[in-house]
């Protein structure tokens, strides 16, 4: 578990616009260990999907990876992501209805994916496709069915089978269960966990749902305004958050609890800054109730391998 499969080193993603150059991701560093599920959580616009896209080289112009490096298995990949895309690292998107071609049978889509990435014959590929379906809990006899004949959850299983088909070492799952009902979501998350354990595949799970993070991931990175606010073991981060933003996020998440009725939920006032109006210093300081003078001027980097917050610097007065 300790070996780093993927290393993201100080990457920035910038967009050139009329309003100047905007930083969607600002100096972000992350490691993904072999066989682990790393969660990336944050609110809309925090840069969680962008991070996944950056790894696969899927950032559309005018956006571009303007600085930093991405290393995969000791090889630098940010210059030539197509060498690993789909084969070594594959992606699961949010909406299974959009990521499957409605005009083609699921078997054909699977076989095409397998043949693109593996030097095997068509018959072998069909065989693999059937096995792949069986693995995600779909009857292999349905290999010739069209996507519309499946329910939402079954379609997402097909998409997972597609992502797994080339036997990648890393899967980036971008909100894989957001479009699904809770009961189906639980099945899909269990399936991902199980496959990850059996094959030693690593997963980057991008989601906005703290519950999904708590139940699925080993480690979690909390993103805010394109920057990493906090990272650590999931249980530590959620039960003992160090960054005031993480604290707020955890406290404002409603819990299934009979005693929570009629209590006012904790709320973080304000909203995330727009990219063209980023505050100086720490991006969270205008909303932070513990903000120090320093926070308004200097941007904190990750301190004590845990959180980008000046409060962790030196003495632990408030935390």
């Amino acid at each position: 578990m300790s070996e780093n499969l993927l290393q993201i080193k100080n990457i920035s993603v910038t967009f050139k616009t009329r309003h100047g150059v905007l930083k969607a991701i600002d100096d972000l560093s992350l490691n993904v260990k072999k066989g682990e599920i790393l969660g990336l959580v944050g609110e809309s616009g925090a840069g969680k999907s962008m991070t996944g896209a950056a790894v696969l080289g899927l950032i559309d112009p005018p956006g571009r990876l303007s600085s930093g490096q991405i290393w995969y298995k000791g090889q630098r990949i940010d210059q030539a992501p197509e060498t690993i895309r789909g084969h070594e690292i594959s992606m699961i998107f949010q909406d299974p209805l959009v990521s499957l071609n409605p005009l083609r049978r699921i078997g054909d889509q699977l076989v095409e994916t397998i043949l693109t990435h593996m030097p095997i014959t068509k018959a072998e590929a069909v065989d693999r496709a059937r096995k792949g379906l069986e693995e995600v809990g779909i009857d292999p006899e349905r290999i010739n069915a069209y996507p519309h004949t499946f329910s939402g959850g079954m379609r997402q299983r097909v998409v997972i089978a597609l992502a797994l088909a080339p036997e990648p070492a890393l899967i980036i799952a971008d909100e894989p269960t957001t479009a699904l009902d809770v009961s189906v979501q639980a099945q899909i998350l269990d399936l991902l966990k199980q496959l990850c354990r059996e094959r030693g595949t690593s997963i980057i799970l991008v989601t906005h749902d703290m519950g999904v993070i708590a139940e699925t991931t080993d480690r979690v990175g909390v993103l805010y305004a394109g920057r990493l606010a906090e990272i650590g073991e999931t249980r530590d981060v959620l039960t003992n958050p160090k960054h005031p933003y993480t604290k707020g996020l955890v406290a404002s998440t409603p819990r299934i609890d009979a005693s929570s009725f009629d209590k006012t939920l904790y709320q973080i006032s304000g909203s995330m800054p727009k990219l063209d109006a980023m505050p100086n210093g720490c991006a969270f300081h205008p909303r932070c109730e513990f903000a120090l003078d320093k926070c308004r001027i200097d941007r904190p980097s990750i301190i004590a391998d845990r959180a980008a917050c000046w409060l962790l610097d030196g003495e632990e007065t408030l935390l």
């Binding site: 809770v182 998440t253 299934i256 929570s260 939920l265 909203s271």
Partner: protein
């Protein structure tokens, strides 16, 4: 009698093929019962939550409550009056409709992008003829904007200038503008981020206290329900399978379906 009562509420959708095709192929009619004989009642000033998965009929009930759909059978009664009474004159219908408003799921789709926020909020005031005179209407709009935590100067802006949470506040101001007694909230926070969701839920609660509003709260999220509802009804395939207080439902769920929902909801509590 409770303030809002649903009695035997049913809604069917006819999915049959055209008559001529059915006659030729001898196939029977196909009727989908989206809402099947649902009964519930809501006390004044309280929140009743309907939870269920997609296809359970929760949004169909919301639409029937605000008159966007007519029930196939059964009645919805508010303050002793049948909302779908065909004998009601048009102005009586309108008077009833004023008292029950809706907040929709997506604040991106439910606000007209070409209208200024002030016009959006003033529309119910004009439609129901509540306040005469542009100036008085403008004053009322400013007051509503401030009530939901926005600035009165926001009336001149367009919806795209606001974030999702702020847009949902605009939706709430619009729902409040006709001074309703009942607000139907159809997944009001499922398009929002958690920290913003907390702001909107707190606002809804504060408004309920201030105006003794009655909420019919439609959601798939049991955690949201636990902070909002006085009573929870669980819908499965159009049928109300269980109804309990939050305390009862979370500690002693009766139906297997409810237990399954509770077990599969992702929780951030580490057990």
């Amino acid at each position: 009698m409770s303030f809002v009562v649903a009695k035997g509420l049913t809604r069917n959708y006819d999915l049959s093929e055209p008559l001529i095709v059915r006659a030729l192929t001898m196939r029977p009619k196909r009727i989908l019962t989206a809402v099947d004989n649902v009964n519930f009642s809501i006390e004044k000033g309280t929140t009743y939550a309907l939870v269920g998965e997609s296809g359970s009929g929760k949004s169909t009930i919301a639409k029937m409550a605000v008159g966007l759909l007519k029930p196939s059978a059964g009645t919805l009664i508010m303050d002793g009056k049948n909302l779908n009474d065909p004998a009601l004159a048009r102005n009586e219908q309108l008077a009833l409709r004023r008292r029950i408003q809706m907040v929709f799921q997506s604040p991106y789709a439910s606000l007209n992008p070409r209208w200024r926020v002030g016009d959006i909020i003033a529309e119910p005031i004009k439609a129901f003829g509540l306040i005469d005179g542009t100036k008085a209407q403008f004053m009322r709009v400013s007051e509503l904007l401030e009530q939901v935590g926005l600035a009165s100067s926001d009336a001149n802006k367009y919806p795209h200038e606001f974030s999702g949470g702020q847009r949902q506040r605009i939706s709430i101001a619009r729902a409040l503008s006709s001074q309703p007694e009942v607000i139907v909230c159809d997944e009001p926070t499922s398009a929002l981020d958690v920290s913003v969701q907390a702001q909107v839920l707190n606002l809804l609660k504060a408004l309920q206290k201030e105006y003794a509003l009655t909420y019919l709260f439609i959601t798939h999220d049991l955690a949201v329900v636990s902070t909002m509802a006085n009573k929870i009804g669980v819908l499965n395939k159009g049928k109300l399978v269980e109804e309990q207080s939050p305390t009862g439902l979370f500690s002693r769920p009766q139906q297997d379906y409810t237990k399954m929902l509770l077990n599969s909801a992702p929780s951030i509590n580490f057990g």
